[in-house]
């Protein structure tokens, strides 16, 4: 298995945080918090402006890692960890990138399982770090579940 891609960051991709996208996301998770929707209320809040819910960053495009492609099927999301330097602001542009920090294969009860640990980060247009994330994904290889 070629593992040359480990550690290599993708080229950062700009993601515009659209007001409508944040609104729809807040609706989809059933969170009525006005800081995600109401400009006037949000301006009076500690954030001073509209923000996105904490898990919104999963919707961003993190770019592609050269030499690496993960098949969509048979993937299990094992773990998700966020660290926030500050909230994500509505209308801002976030530059997102990802890398495979580690990968390994284990024999499980129903066939081989490959584990991937992704690291992700989001930065502002001025290069300020907004958040980091760690994502653990498990792929079943060969064994139908």
């Amino acid at each position: 298995m070629a593992t040359d891609f480990i550690g290599r960051w993708s080229t950062p991709v700009p993601n515009l945080v659209e007001r409508g996208a944040v609104w729809k996301f807040a609706e989809a998770i059933g969170d009525p918090n006005p800081v995600y929707r109401d400009e006037v209320v949000a301006e009076q809040s500690r954030f001073g402006r509209m923000i996105a819910p904490p898990t919104f960053s999963r919707t961003f495009d993190y770019g592609t890692i050269e030499g690496f492609e993960l098949q969509g099927e048979g993937l299990i999301h094992g773990e998700q960890v966020f660290h926030f330097e500050r909230p994500i602001y509505v209308h801002e542009e976030v530059f997102c990138s990802t890398r495979v920090a580690d990968t390994y294969t284990r024999d499980g009860g129903s066939g081989k399982m490959t584990f991937y640990l992704f690291e992700q980060k989001g930065q502002s247009t001025s290069g300020e770090l907004i958040f980091t994330a760690k994502v653990n994904v498990i792929q079943r290889v060969g064994g139908a579940s």
Binding site: A21, E27, I29, R46, R58, T59, V81, F84, R86, K134
Partner: protein
Amino acid sequence: MKRQIDAGMQLPDLVKGPVTQIDLVKYSGASGDFNPIHTVESFAKEVGLGGVIAHGMLTMAYVGQLLTDFAGNDADLIDFGVRFRAMVRPGDTITCKGIVTKVEPLERGLLAVIQVNAQTQSGDVAVKGNATLRFDQ
């Protein structure tokens, strides 16, 4: 605004759902995660799941609301991590729970470490994890 936060303090439970198939379609659209195991019943059965399952990130978002509701206008969410465990299916009601396990004073304010989980009506733990809120004082 000063709020008293102590270890052992429980967050008010947040009850979400029952989760509907429409909720999963809405979350797929809003998140861009169009994996058919969340929306296409026949596909989910074909791959052995017995029917569609909710996105793990949807349940995590519910727990996120538990935390941001508790933080209100007094705190920032600094860390938030979960492991995904039991599957959530349409019809399930999800109860999000949190308890403050540690309080650490800062020069101005405090850090509160919170253990969180989300359970279905049958007590299956769908997600379990930890979070840190930084309160102003």
